[in-house]
Structures are given as C-alpha cells and as structure tokens.
C-alpha cells in the first residue's frame, strides 16, 4: 500500500479513524488521575545513587531530614517577652503537626542549657513556660551567651533573631506541612516588632509544588491562546484552529497519560513539557493546512477529499522526517541524562512528538475530509495571484539577503560559530535551588533573611563511624571530630557546625564551675562516658539523638552554610572529602560526607558533562537520521549547521548575560536541536523538490521562500511564541529556559533561511543537484515506504537505549563474586519434603489487621518441586487451596491451580505473571516459589561490600551482631524486570548459613518498593529454616508478616496430596 492509497483509505473511512482517535485519547486520559507529583530535590537523583542511599541511612540513624526552618526576627533583640513567647508558641504548635517529628524540633524553647551544680550537671530548659518579665528573658539571653554552640545556629550572633528547626517525617507530605505552618504563623497575633520567615529545604520542597502548579496553570492556557491566534492569522479559518488544538490535546493527553500509566511522576521540570508540546504539535498541522489550502486555491473544483489526500501525500514525508529528527533530539537527552526527571522529560517529549505525528497523519485528514473546509477567499486570491502577503514578503527579503550576499552570510556565520566555540569553554555550571523562586517571593526573601543572620539554612553532614559500640567514648576520636569542625569552619561558606563534641565541651565547663579553660574535650575516655551518664540523669537521653546514635558508635557533625549554590559549595565539598580521606578512614574511625549540600554537589557536578554529552548525542542522532533519509551524510551536515550555530550563539549569550548552566537551562540544547532542525529539514527537502522541477537553484529558491518559507515562518512563530510564554514564568529557571530556547529557535530559523540557501548556492552540493528523481511528485527521498522509516525510528530508539546501558560497579576485589554467592544461597539443602503451618498477618496502611492460617506441604519430585497450601482459617476462606508444580526447565511455565470452596472446583491459573502479588500478601508468586533463594535466570548479582544491620533491626528480628555480605541484584533484561516487578534488589546475606536476612527491592522505575526482614532463623531437623518473614511495602503502606511453625522435614508427605483432586478434598486431616 503506498502513501496515497493509505490516505485515501483514511478519507474514505474517517469516522472509524476519528472514533479510534478519541478512544485512544479517552483511554490515556483515564490514566491521568493516577499522575503523581514529585517536587523533592531527591527526585533528581537516581534512587541507587550512593550519595542518596547513604543520606537515607543517615536519616535512619539520626532522624535527620531536610528541615523546615522558621526564623523569628525582632527589630533589635529577640530576648524580649514577646519574642520568647512567640518562639514558645510556635514550637508547641509545630510539635502538634502530623508530619513533624515532635522529638526533632530544635528551638530556644525545646533545647536544654547545661550548667554545673553542686551535685553535678544541671540540664534544664532555657525556659519552659511563658515569660512574664523582662528579667526572665534576660536570663535566657545570658544563658545563651554562655553556650557558644547555639550562637549563630539557634540564635543570631547579633541576638536579633532565633530559629526554630523542625525535622520532617515524610518528605512526600512536606508541601502540606509547609502550608500548615504558613497558616499557623498567620494566625499568630504579632506586633510590628516581630517578623516570621519560613525557609529551609523543607519549605522549598513544600512551596515548589504549589508555586509551579500556579505557574503552569497560567502558562499553558496562555501558550495555547497564542498558538490559536497565530494559526488563525495564517489561515483565517476557525476549523484550522480547532484542529490544531485537537492535535495539541491528543499529544498532551497521550504524553501525560503515558507518564501516569508508567508511574512516572510529574517533576518540577515537567512543567515545561506541555508548553513544548503545544509548540511542536501544531507545526505539522500548519504544514498540512498550508499545502491543502494551496491545493484548494488552484483546484477549487476538485473534491475536497482528493485535496486532503494530495496534501497528505505531499507532506507526510517531511513531517515524518521532522518528527524523527525532533524525537532524536529528545532521545539524545534521554540517553545522556542521569537524572530521572530529565530522562523522563526526554523520553516523554519524544512520545508526545510521535503522538502529534500520528494524529496529524490520521485524525487530521479524517476530520478534514468531513469538514471539507474551503480556503478563505482572501487567502485563495493571494495564493493564486502569487501575491505575497507581508509574511511572504519578509521571507523573500531573507531570500534576497541569502542570494545576493552569499559570501558575506557565510563569513558572518563562521565568525558566529567561532565565537560560540570560545564561549562554550566559559559556560558556568551552577545551581541553587532557592533561585527557582523569583526574588519577590516570600520564600526567597526568607532564605536571605535567615542566611544573613545565622550560620545558614544549608546543611552538610559528616557521619563519623567507629567500629564498635561506645566507640565514641574516645578522646582521640572526639579530638579528630573537633579538628574536623575547626577545619570546616575555616572554609567558605561555612558559618558554623554542631556535633556531640560541642555538648561535651559545654558539659566539661559546666562541671568545672563554668571555667572557660575547661571548654574542652574531657581528658579521659571514662570521663566521657560518665558525662553522658550524668546528663541522662538530669535529662532525656534523646537530647543527642541528632548528634549520636543510641550505642554511641556513630556521630554526626552538622555543618551550616549560608550559601547553597553549587559553585559556592563545590570547593568546600571537595576540600572536606580530601581532608576526610587523609585524616579519617582508617581502622579506628571513618567519616563520610552527606547531607543536602553534598547531595546537591553530586547532583550537579556531572551536569556539565551530561549536558554536553547529551547535546553531542542529540546532534549525532539528528545527523544520522538526516543523512539516512536524505541518503547523504553531507545533507546531514547541512541539516545540522543552522541548529548547531544557534546553540553556539546561545552559549555566547549565556556567558555574556552570566546565565549559568543549571537544572532549568541544561535541557535547552536537546530541545533546541529537536525543534530547530525542523527548519533545516524542510528547507533542504523543499529546495531539492523545487530544483527537480526548475533545474535552477535560484529559481527553486524563488519558489521556496513565499511558500514553504512562509509556512516555516508561522511554524517559527508558533514555537517561539510558545516558548516566549515561558519568559513570563515566575519560576526563574523556566524563565531562563524559555528565553534561551526562543533565542535558539529563532536563530536556527534565520540560519536555515539565510545560511543554508547561501551555502547551497555557493557549494552546489550533490544532494541538491545530483539526485535522481522518483515518480512521485516530491519523491526526492527513496524512503517512500513506511517500513524503512519504521526501521529508522527503531534504529533511533535502539541507539538511544544502547547509550543508556549502565556500567556496573567493579566492587571490592576481596569480595566473592555475586553470582557465586547466589549459587551458594540456592544450594542450601531445604529437605526433600516439608510440612509447616503458616500464619499470615496482613496490616494495611491504616493499621487494620487481617489474619490467615494455612498449612503447606512441599515435596521434590526429582528436580520438580510441588507445593500445596490450604487455608485453615478464617472460616470464610477455609479449604481454599493453591497447588503449584515448579519445573526446573526455565522455558516451561509452572502449572498452578487454585481451589475455591465456593465453586467446589480447582481452577487452572496462569503462572506467567510471576510478579503478581500472592493472594493479597506483599510477596509475589515468584517470592513464594523461591522461598528465600535467588533467580539466576532473571538476575545478575554483584557483591557490594559488607554491612551490619542496625541495632533496632537486630533486636526486632533476633539477628546476630555481625557484618553481612551485601549483594545487589539487577534484572538481566527489561522483560525480567517488568515480569517480576523489580528493577533492583539488595540482599544482606549471612555467609555462615547463606540465608538472606534482609532484602530491599526497587520497582522497575527504581523507586523503593519493599523491604524484607527474616527472623527467627534456626535449624529444624538439621535444615536451616526461616520462621519469620516480614515484608513492608512502601508504595501501599501494607505489611505482611509470615510466621512458620511446626515445621517438619521428617513427617512423610504422600505424593497424591499434590494433585488437583486432592485440592478439592480440602485441608488434609
């Protein structure tokens, strides 16, 4: 079937196409409610990024997160009755909020003063009730003056302000918490003397969501309106504007619906996606309508359907080309980006572009054939008379420049390119999350207000690890910590730091009658332990839970910075890492840098490389596609030149205006390539086509400018104004992004209109002059057939996929090979047969519990394993049975049956969905089948190291205090990942008995999925047996606890128990 027949079929069966088109839209729209939002900074890091993983560990150890920081600022001194009472009131109110850790609030009202007394230490709050007299406030002030630790951190050094820091429990709910705090603060009755500011990473993440939403709500309709106006001006018909909007709608819904269907959240940067889609999706409609109306102008008697067929036959190839090249650009971004939001952005924009293409070539002609819109008489007259409107005249003017000043144009372009290359080397990479917000925003002002008065709202944590419990009771270790703090405070932009050492020094001084000479670390190890003991008699041992862990094995140093930009903190992080590498990390003590600033460092440091590699990949892919489609690598180069030049021009502008390359702007290159190359493709394609007819480049250009050039101009207007809308965005990076993409696209257009024709005139390349013509009117490209283009598209995707393959970590050479470890685990003898009772306790996220009791039998028949399980209670499901035959051959699916007592029948069930959850539990069918073993067929394993389990987990699950081998599992291919539902796993393996005692699982998008804990592991009849399994599902908040009892490997189990008929007999007695 050739293209003409295809489009003819469409116009002959429009209703089917339209119905199918709407069905697809509605189907994808049905996924939209599932779309979730993720504005966390952590979303920018892949879940397995070591920095993020470690930060989460620290969170667990110390309960530290990205806190909300509330500053109470007075005109002169905060130590007034109202000032202190306001602090108290806020502290108490915040403690009541659901998502705030009541033990994680630090304020003057919550913290304790440490003073010496006759008996020892007195640990008392600075104040614990409302202040009624100024003398009380003065007492607090004096106490703070004696407590250097809090100066700069809790109280401004000029005593004009104080901070309340609140640790958040659940990052996902931080937006709601931020709004609650805002409203609580607004309800306070304050005088003019006091101001309240809310800042901190918690506030930033909290506000970001609603800030960006408000922005999007304004921008998207605005972009849509502008596009609609442009289309109307171009064609003077309402129906064309409606159709353009329909294509946009389809593109947007399919894209966002796909995101929702795949569980990809809406990230901060995804806000730019709809605007981009609006610009791109409309381009195809413009070209098709342009061709259609031109045809109608010259053939008014022709049946409208035939005109539609003609227009589509002419335009489908260039439209497809530009879709492929645009998609190539975005797939380049997908390939090179290491941050999930960018990967998602690249991939789903490519999907959106493809959706627009699909609807432009199917739905659009279908509707056009029904509407049979006539060309507006004014437009028709203009076209027929070859009269040029102002737009065509403008294009002709560009043509005039190109043709008459050929060499000048080329020379200037070379100059621009050279300057651009120079500028590229000067581009700065920088990112500061607060700069997302406009300087007028309250949050921005709050951030500045706090950072100018205090040690800072930007945190870096350094975790000190000692090898054993109470390892911190060592003057040597504490002295190292102190030295590290001193060193850190000497670096910019560090303003202060807090660690357990500061508290110890305070205690030491307090116990030595407040003599400043004793503001030092206690001289003896025993003394350190005694001080803590003494402290605990006067106060709660929880007071230091943010500085040390329960066993005094780990300590945290929190370093405060008053600047958060990458450029300002990069050197600090590197210097600290260098210090730590030399001064720590030996047998007695190790230190690891973590915290928000460190996370940002890791996040941004590869940005520059990623940006340039992404751009390189996008350019390569575009060149490849263009070359293949034009059958000429030179043509591919020509297609690239305008867009590459425009990017270099943008770099020059960024250097000149000091716009850094950051999160918001890094994407611009791939986007600009994807959008800008369309002009070059259309230009080359149409010039070639006209040349075939005119046999003269000049004549071809004469035809080109008023027709295709005019259409391209409207194309440009649509895109440039669409992006121009972003200039009005309040989200600063989006603002920058919009501006530079608009500049890139405009310059790409200009270079396509001026430079390309100039080069063609000058060099007369073969791909314009030397191609054989085909029978089709616009058949420059040999690739008439859809299959070829499909292959090309697939090649594109394959290339992108290849480029995203990850390298695996080398691992410690002392560690055993991961797959070998897996083999040891699988080789554990689990007995020829086994009977056990199993109690299952299912707890949903609201705490509701359901219990089930089962009995199960398992027996090996050679290598084939058969298992049968019967429910014994509750009565409603008693006698429900599940039988499975687990075959050793990989290619043979297991056979499974489910007996339902209500039906009195055993039903065959499909075993191909191994990743489905087993009978309402959080274990999958595969998990149940494996019984603690690993699937080497589906996963490859790597040993990552050795790690101990936390005290809490050891206590809860009765595990030994030792190190376990950490084994990482990754699916061997996407099919395995999709089928099993796991994108990654981590297992803690006891090398003494090769039992996995703990597991963590991530879903296919590498979001944390569930944790597994194994407890009560002991031998029964000589076989190591797990008696307790707990699975926590992070996505659903559901928990499953399996308890195995009366495990018996000796009691004979009859073969005939494992048959379908036996299932129907119910629980064997």
């Amino acid at each position: 079937m050739n293209a003409q027949n295809f489009f003819r079929w469409i116009v002959d069966h429009p209703k089917r196409i339209i119905a199918a088109g709407f069905l697809l839209i509605f189907t994808m729209a049905s996924f939209l409610p599932q779309l979730t939002k993720d504005t966390r900074a952590d979303a920018f890091l892949a879940a397995d990024n070591p920095a993020l993983v470690y930060r989460d560990k620290v969170k667990q150890l110390f309960g530290l997160s990205d806190p909300m920081v509330i500053a109470v600022v007075a005109k002169e001194s905060i130590f007034t009755i109202q000032g202190l009472n306001t602090i108290a009131q806020i502290t108490e109110s915040i403690a009541k909020l659901d998502n705030v850790d009541p033990d994680g609030i630090t304020s003057l009202y919550s913290e304790n003063n440490i003073v010496g007394s006759y008996d020892g230490l007195e640990v008392e709050p600075f104040y614990d009730r409302a202040i009624t007299e100024q003398s009380q406030a003065d007492a607090v002030r004096n106490a703070i003056r004696q407590f250097p630790l809090y100066q700069g951190s809790l109280v401004a050094r000029d005593e004009s302000a104080s901070l309340i820091v609140a640790e958040i429990l659940d990052d996902a709910l931080v937006e709601h918490t931020y709004l609650e705090i805002l409203s609580m603060v607004e309800s306070l009755d304050l005088t003019d003397e006091l101001e309240i500011h809310i800042a901190g990473e918690g506030a930033v993440a909290g506000y970001m969501g609603s800030y960006i939403d408000a922005d999007a709500k304004r921008l998207n309709p605005l972009a849509g309106l502008i596009i609609t106006i442009i289309i109307f001006i171009a064609f003077l018909r309402i129906s064309t504007t409606l159709m353009a909007n329909l294509i946009i709608l389809a593109s947007a819904v399919l894209t966002l619906g796909s995101m929702a269907a795949f569980g990809i959240p809406f990230y901060v940067i995804t806000n730019a996606l709809p605007v981009i889609l609006i610009g791109i999706a409309v381009a195809d409609s413009i070209h098709i309508y342009s061709e259609y109306f031109e045809r109608r102008s010259f053939h008014p008697q022709e049946d409208a359907k035939e005109s539609v067929v003609y227009a589509l036959t002419e335009m489908w190839r260039p439209i497809t080309l530009t879709t492929l090249t645009t998609a190539a650009g975005f797939l380049g971004l997908y390939a090179s980006a290491y941050m999930p939001p960018f990967k998602a952005f690249g991939l789903f924009t490519a999907i959106g572009v493809s959706a627009a293409w699909l609807y432009s070539l199917t739905m659009l002609p279908a509707v056009m054939s029904l509407l049979k819109t006539e060309v507006h008489p004014k437009l028709a007259t203009k076209i027929r008379s070859h009269e040029q409107d102002s737009f065509a005249k403008l294009m002709m003017a560009l043509g005039h420049i190109s043709q008459n000043y050929t060499k000048t144009v080329v020379t200037i372009s070379i100059l621009v390119i050279s300057l651009g290359i120079l500028a590229t080397t000067q581009v700065i990479v920088d990112e500061d999350r607060i700069n997302v917000f406009h300087p007028d925003e309250a949050l921005y002002k709050a951030d500045h207000a706090i950072n100018s008065r205090f040690d800072g709202t930007n945190y870096l944590d350094i975790v000190i690890e000692t090898p054993s419990v109470e390892g911190l009771f060592s003057t040597e270790v504490l002295t190292k910590i102190e030295s590290l703090q001193v060193y850190a405070e000497s670096l910019s932009p560090v303003q202060g730091s807090i660690s357990i050492v500061d508290y110890l020094k305070q205690m030491n001084r307090a116990l030595n009658e407040g003599d400043d000479k004793f503001y030092t670390i206690p001289a003896e190890n025993d003394l350190i332990a005694q001080y803590f003991l003494l402290y605990s008699t006067s106060s709660s041992p929880d007071d230091f839970e943010e500085e040390v862990d329960y066993d005094y094995q780990y300590a945290n140093i929190r370093v405060m910075l008053n600047k958060g930009a990458f450029s300002q903190t990069k050197e600090l992080v590197e210097q600290l890492e260098n210090y730590v590498a030399h001064q720590f990390n030996d047998a007695s003590v190790t230190a690891t840098i973590t915290g928000r600033v460190n996370l940002n460092y890791h996040w941004i440091k590869d940005l520059g490389f990623s940006h340039f590699s992404g751009m390189g990949i996008a350019l390569f892919l575009v060149w490849l596609v263009s070359s293949l489609l034009f059958r000429s690598p030179i043509a591919g180069m020509y297609a690239l030149i305008p867009v590459a030049t425009s990017i270099l021009l943008v770099y020059s502008a960024m250097v000149f205006f000091q716009i850094p390359l950051g999160i918001g702007t890094t994407m611009f290159a791939a986007v600009a390539i994807g959008l800008g190359v369309d002009f070059a493709i259309h230009t080359i394609d149409r010039i070639r086509s006209f040349y075939l007819q005119e046999q003269s480049i000049s004549a071809a250009l004469q035809r080109f400018y008023p027709t295709t050039g005019r259409a391209l101009f409207f194309n440009l207007l649509a895109i440039a104004l669409g992006f121009g809308v972003l200039i009005s965005s309040k989200v600063v990076p989006l603002n920058n992004f919009g501006s530079i993409v608009a500049i890139a696209v405009v310059t790409s257009f200009l270079f396509s209109m001026v430079l390309l024709p100039a080069m063609i005139l000058l060099f007369k390349p073969n791909f314009i002059t030397g191609e054989k013509s085909s029978n089709n009117a616009a058949g420059i490209l040999v690739t008439n057939s859809l299959p070829t283009l499909t292959v090309l598209a697939l090649t594109l995707v394959a290339t992108a996929t290849l480029l995203t393959s990850n390298e695996s970590t080398a691992g410690d050479i002392e560690l055993p090979n991961g797959n070998w470890v897996a083999e040891q685990i699988n080789a554990i003898d689990d007995g020829d047969h086994r009977v056990n009772f199993m109690d299952t306790k299912l707890t949903d996220r609201r705490g509701k519990i359901r219990e089930r009791k089962t009995i199960s039998y398992r027996k090996y028949f050679g290598e084939e394993k058969r298992t049968v399980l019967f429910y014994r209670s509750p009565r409603n499901i008693k006698n429900t049975g599940f039988l499975t035959y687990d075959y050793p051959e990989l290619e043979k699916d297991d056979d499974q049956w489910l007996y339902l007592p209500a039906l009195r029948k055993a039903r065959r069930i499909s075993a191909s969905d191994r990743g489905d959850y087993f009978l309402g539990t959080d274990a999958t069918y595969e998990d149940i089948k494996l019984e603690g073993k690993l699937s080497l067929a589906d996963f490859s394993f790597t040993s990552l190291g050795r790690e101990a389990i936390s005290t809490e987990e050891r206590t809860r699950y009765g595990l030994a205090d030792k190190e376990y081998l950490l084994l990482e599992g990754k699916p061997k291919n996407d099919d395995a990942a999709k089928e099993l539902g796991y994108g990654r796993s981590l297992a803690w393996v006891d090398q003494d008995n090769w039992i996995i005692i703990k597991g963590q699982f991530w879903d296919v998008n590498l979001n944390p999925l569930k944790d597994l804990y194994v407890g009560d592991i002991r031998q029964v009849d000589g076989y190591w047996t797990r008696h307790q399994l707990t699975i926590l599902n992070h996505k659903s908040g559901h928990k499953t606890e399996f308890t195995f009892s009366e495990v018996d490997y000796k009691k004979p189990v009859k073969d005939n128990l494992f048959s379908r008929q036996a299932l129907t007999r119910g629980v064997p007695k």
Binding site: R852, P874, R875, I909, S910, D913, S1036, H1038, R1060
Partner: protein
C-alpha cells in the same frame, strides 16, 4: 428428621467415646471440641426494584412489598478425626439453619433446619473414600452445568444463589482410586433419589417460561372440552445414579492438560411433564426419566490465558414441544425425546494484575429429527455467552465482580454486578444487583420483573 437423628447420634457417639480420654488429659469439653467446630453466618437482604411481581398467567399474584428477602443462614460445621482401625478417617457434618423473615421466595423448603452434609472420609494407600451426604462437582464450566449434574439443585432463587448453597447434597459412596501417578478413577454410587427443588407456585422465581413448563391456556382447555386437570407427580426418580470419571494430568513438552472422561447414568433431576387426555380430563404426568451422560473436559494454560473445554452427550432427553391435536386447532403442551449435545469453551485471561476475565461460549444442540425439531420449542442450537470480570484492590480485600450471562438465540440474559469487601479477617460484606432482561417466554427473560439489589455479609466463626 431421620437424618437429623442419625447425625446427632453419630456426633454424640463420637463425643462420648472420646470424652473419657478428656478427663485423663485434664481438658474441658469446650477446650477439646472448640477446634472441631466452626460456623459461618450469612445474611442477605434483597430489594426488588420492580413494583409488580413476577406474575404468571396462572396467577393474579400482585406484589405486596419491595423487600424480597431478608435471609439468615447459619452453617455449623463439625469435623473430627477418628481412629478406629479400618474405619479410621475423618467425619464431617454441616448443619444448616435458614430463616427468611420476608418469605417472599415462598418456596417449598421455606425456613429450614437440616443436616446439609455429613460424611466419613478416609485415605487409603492408593485410594480415597468419602461416604455420606456430600456434593460432587464435575466439569470445567463456571455458572453453567454440563457435567455438573450429579447433585440436584434448589431453584428457590433460580441461579442467583451460590451453587455451593443451592446444590443439594446427596447420600452417596464416592471412591477415588489412583490408577497412576496422575490418573484417578472415581466411582460414584448414589442411592439418593432427591431431585431439583423448584420454586413454589406464586413465588418470585417460579418457572413460567414455556421452554421449561407447559403453558396450558383456558381457551385450549375449553376447546378440548376439558373440565378437569389431574396431576400425577412422581416424587422422586425411581432408582439411584451411577457415575464413573477418569481424570488425569498430562504434561507435554510445551503444555500440560487436565483431562477427564465422564460417564453418568442418572435420572434427570427435573421431571418430564407430559399430558394425555382422558374424556374430559387432562392428565398431566410428572415423570423422572433416566439418561446416559458421556462427556469429558480438558483445560490448559496458554501464556496468560487458561483454556477450559467441556462436552457432554446425553441420551433420552425430553424437550418441551407443542402439538396441534388432529382435527382440533388447539396447541397443547407436549414433549419430544431425543439426545442432547452440550459443549462449552471458556477462556480465562489473567494477564492483567489483579484482574480475572473469563469468557465462555456454551452451545447446546438438540439431536432430533426434522419433524421433532419443528415441534420443539427450543431452537436446535442454543448458544449462551458468559462474561465474568473480577478485579481485586487493596491487597485483595476489595473485589468487584461483573457477571453477565447472555442467551444469544433470544437476546435474554442476566447481569450481576457485585462488590465485596473483606472488612475483617472473618467478615465479608457485599453489595450487588441482579438484573434480568429479555422476553418473558425466554429462559432468563421470564424473570425480567424480578430485578433486585442485594446486600449482605458473612461472618466466619
């Protein structure tokens, strides 16, 4: 009454013989026996959504109220392992009490208290025996009965009741012998001649379709000069049934099949209704006729789809027909005898997580000569399609179910949406509806005025 007495004695005997040992063990009666008892309490309330009842041409039954049912059903189960030499095994008894305060279903059984099931079972080395009152289910079809004809059914609620509840257990010997690793031969000897329990006259689910019950109009009677209707009802079938089934699991290279071959000699559980004229009397005979059933089933899994097939060939089946009496232009109900071939193909799709989608195509073919076919009321080929879609949410605590049975020939059918929530471990609550459509003379359409909303719960104890 007899069964209650028998079962009570058996239970008492068991308890007494073991009570002696209790004293020695120092356990109380309750401690010892609590684990042997379990119960399930079900409640269902149904609200009819049509204002007029399912009224028949014979009755001027007008509807009193909308509430159709407020039924409480308690099944008390007792099970005990017994150690008695060759009689070692387990005994099981289920007693059922049912009470419906609305009583709109007005069936013969009404409010009941009876032993539902009671049997002794034992595993031999290569055999399994279950002797007593029990249910045996054959076949692969869901919601349709081809091979599942061993136990008769209680039609007080048509097919709306769970089959497990509506199936009538029979006294029988059920022996299963392993013929190989996977092959089992089952023998059924069923002396119990109980038959279907039909919904009573003037009850909501009384059969009125002429496809099932004869339709005798007053005009016909008058034209024939009939002044009296006489019924001869045979209470039960004459003698018991015998069944044989071979089942096996065949594992091939790329697939595996569950297959059965079935034979049943039985008396059809619904009576054959024929009529004869004797002077001015129309004598209506209700007879239970015997039939041979030969059939089989097979099921396998192909990827995400389970395939189920079932076929049954029945001899000596009687179909409702209409005859015109010679010389008199009056149609009287009659019967024709022939064989019946039924088959079902079912596909269960489990490719979507938490969804179960099942479709079945059922065909019944009357094997009658042309003449008899003309007379038969039913079509030669009767097709039905069924759709079941179950979706589970919230770790399988919430289940939505959509069941649709559609008769292709006449465009009638029934829709049964239902939502069930497992509120506690042992408590399920549900809400559903039953909606019939089609013409009143059709199988499902005859109940098109009995649409209802149902709600209920079950508690396991």
């Amino acid at each position: 009454m007899k069964s209650i007495a028998l079962s009570s004695s058996l239970i008492l005997l068991t308890i007494l013989t073991s009570s002696a040992s209790l004293a020695e063990e120092g356990m109380s009666f309750f401690d010892r026996y609590a684990e042997n008892f379990s119960a399930i309490l079900k409640q269902q309330t149904a609200y009819a959504t049509h204002s007029s009842a399912h009224s028949t041409s014979h009755s001027s039954h007008s509807k009193k109220n909308q509430w159709q049912q407020n039924e409480w059903q308690l099944d008390l189960e007792y099970s005990e392992a017994i150690d008695a030499g060759i009689f070692s095994g387990d005994i099981m008894a289920i007693a059922r009490g049912r009470f419906d305060s609305q009583d709109e279903l007005e069936d013969e059984s009404g409010n009941t208290l009876r032993v539902r099931e009671m049997y002794w079972q034992s595993y031999g080395e290569n055999s399994f025996w279950r002797i007593g009152k029990q249910q045996v289910v054959w076949g692969e079809a869901d919601g349709l009965k081809l091979l599942d004809v061993i136990n008769p059914q209680d039609f007080r609620e048509f097919i709306l009741d769970d089959f497990d509840d509506s199936r009538i257990p029979l006294w029988m010997v059920n022996a299963q012998i392993n013929t190989s690793d996977s092959g089992i031969l089952q023998l059924l000897l069923i002396p119990d001649t109980s038959t279907h329990t039909l919904a009573g006259s003037n009850s909501t689910y009384q059969f009125t379709s002429p496809m099932i019950v004869p339709n005798i109009t007053a005009e016909s009677l008058s034209a024939l000069g009939i002044s009296e209707l006489v019924s001869h009802k045979e209470k039960n079938a004459k003698s018991g049934d015998t069944g044989l089934r071979y089942s096996d699991f065949i594992s091939l290279q790329d697939s595996s099949w569950d297959i059965t071959l079935n034979y049943l000699h039985h008396y059809i559980d619904s009576p054959v209704v024929s009529s004869t004229i004797n002077n001015d009397q129309l004598i209506i005979d209700f007879q239970y006729e015997a039939s041979h059933l030969i059939g089989g089933s097979a099921s396998t899994v192909l990827g995400d789809i389970s395939l189920r097939t079932e076929i049954a060939y029945e001899t000596d089946r009687y179909q409702r027909s209409e005859n015109t009496l010679k010389g008199i232009n009056v149609v009287i109900p009659s019967i024709v005898k022939g064989d019946l071939l039924s088959s079902v193909i079912g596909l269960d799709f489990q490719g979507l997580s938490d969804h179960f989608i099942s479709m079945q195509w059922y065909r019944q073919t009357l094997l009658l000569n042309e003449d008899k076919l003309q007379q038969a009321i039913a079509d030669r080929d009767e097709d039905r399609l069924t759709l079941l879609w179950e979706t589970k949410f919230l770790n399988e605590t919430l289940t939505t179910r959509w069941q649709h049975i559609h008769g292709v020939n006449h465009g009638d059918g029934v829709l049964r949406p239902k939502v069930t929530y497992n509120w506690q471990s042992n408590i399920d609550i549900y809400l559903g509806a039953d909606y019939f459509y089609g013409k009143t003379e059709d199988f499902f359409g005859q109940f098109n005025k009995t649409d209802r909303i149902v709600a209920g719960f079950s508690i396991g104890l």
